[in-house]
């Protein structure tokens, strides 16, 4: 498995800001094992899998203050709607037969993105603020800006993808 090392472009690199695949994997493993799997690690890097017809996207934005200017980045968690349902039912301690409302989904699946994104932000370790999470079924809502890095994962047999994007074009800085 490759350990792709990607630097947040341009000014980010000068600030020594990096997030590599291994670190994203590490964060996701901690989040899912702690919040969903009672400490067992059940998520691993998988072979690449593309988007499906019924994916849901949950994301948070980080607004970072770097010496040479501000930078906004986004962490997106993508998975199939059915998986997001399983996550939601587990977090909200619902019965598997109970119906999952859009609100429940936005809340619970959004919280996963919040904790993943929050940990990415802490890893980068520059003064930064974290937005509230958003959830959407529309890919283009989530996946905007410059693609930075992603990792394809398998959680309990279900596909999951976490991606990082730069929302502000770094080359705009002087």
């Amino acid at each position: 498995m490759t350990s792709g090392n990607t630097t947040l472009d341009g000014a980010g690199a000068e600030a020594g800001v990096t997030v590599d695949k291994e670190q994203i994997l590490s964060i996701v493993q901690e989040v899912l094992s702690a919040m969903l799997d009672a400490g067992e690690v059940l998520v691993f890097e998988s072979d690449p899998h593309g988007e499906s017809d019924n994916d849901l996207y949950a994301w948070v934005d980080m607004h970072m203050v770097l010496p040479m200017g501000d930078l906004s980045a986004r962490a997106v968690v993508r998975t199939e709607a059915a998986t997001a349902n399983v996550i939601t039912q587990s977090l909200l301690m619902m019965d598997p037969s109970e119906e999952v409302s859009t609100e429940d989904l936005a809340d619970a699946f959004g919280e996963i993105a919040n904790v993943v994104g929050g940990n990415v932000k802490s890893l980068i370790d520059v003064p930064a603020s974290l937005s509230l999470p958003s959830v959407s079924a529309v890919g283009s809502d989530a996946l905007s800006g410059t693609f930075l890095q992603d990792i394809d994962l398998n959680w309990r047999g279900m596909p999951l993808n976490v991606s990082l994007w730069i929302l502000t074009d770094a080359t705009e800085w002087s």
Binding site: Q23, S26, E30, A34, A38, G39, E40, S90, M93, L123
Partner: protein, 276 residues
């Protein structure tokens, strides 16, 4: 072969009664995963293993099951009492009998990934912080598994691991962040020596020790082996030295060469000052 609801509930009730941990429905996979090694040893499924236990459960079975289900990874200052006993009773007692402690040797005899020896190191640092004299303190940390020893030697822990039982004040005082992990300070690292060691072998080099921590490992041995290990530890301790066992463990009824030390609910024993 999945565990039945009845058997799951039995285990959940057992664990709940012995710890603050509640296993809600949905955690069957956890019970299956954690008890699989015991079931395998008996050549049965987890469900069958539990069914058997429901008819005949020994004290040691209970300990093993609860231990298996309540431990993810080892935590810092596990059970807290032994560490408060270290600074509240053991260190003062040693100082009283020996005067100013020039040296202090502690053996962490089932150190796993290092949380115990490093917790001991933190306790010592804090205890002697206000002291005019700092003893030469050495902590020998051993474990059967080279893998955990190698892990412990890195001094690196994940965020989940440093969440477990470690006071936040200690985290900022004794650790530095390294990427997604936390690394223990060089100062603390210098106090601990890690070595692979089998408890069935003679005591490791580095003694005699003032204190031995032998926690939650005797429960895995049969009675003759327990006795053998306790004899080894007894021999490796200085007269007047202390043995610290796990929360529910005892030498009583097993080995009478120890004096029970009453410090709260801790399982602490002392080797007689005058050897018989």
């Amino acid at each position: 072969m999945s565990i039945t609801q009845e058997n799951f509930q039995f285990i959940a009730d057992l664990v709940r009664a012995r710890s603050a941990i509640a296993l809600a429905p949905g955690k069957e996979y956890l019970v299956e995963s954690r008890l699989s090694k015991f079931a395998r040893d008996e050549g049965v499924t987890v469900d069958q293993y539990v069914t058997r236990r429901r008819t005949a459960m020994s004290h040691s079975d209970t300990e093993l099951i609860v231990e298996a289900l309540t431990t993810n990874e080892t935590s810092w200052f596990r059970d807290s009492q032994p560490f408060t006993a270290l600074s509240g009773h053991i260190l003062p007692a040693l100082t009283q009998t020996r005067g100013t402690l020039g040296s202090l040797r502690i053996w962490s005899a089932a150190c796993s990934t290092g949380q115990e020896p490093y917790s001991i190191a933190m306790t010592l640092k804090q205890y002697f912080a206000q002291s005019a004299y700092q003893p030469q303190a050495e902590i020998l940390a051993t474990d059967l598994s080279q893998q955990v020893i190698d892990q412990a030697m890195t001094g690196r822990y994940s965020q989940l691991e440093v969440n477990r039982g470690l006071p936040a004040a200690n985290l900022v005082q004794y650790f530095d962040r390294r990427g997604t992990e936390w690394e223990i300070s060089a100062e603390l690292r210098a106090m601990v020596r890690f070595r692979r060691h089998n408890l069935l072998d003679p005591a490791p080099v580095g003694g005699p020790f003032d204190v031995v921590f032998l926690r939650n490992v005797l429960i895995y041995f049969d009675v003759p082996t327990k006795l053998k290990v306790l004899r080894t530890v007894h021999g490796a301790l200085r007269p007047g030295g202390f043995l610290v066992l796990g929360a529910a463990e005892t030498t009583v009824g097993l080995d009478d060469s120890w004096d029970r030390v009453t410090v709260g609910r801790s399982s602490i024993y002392q080797k007689a000052a005058i050897t018989a």
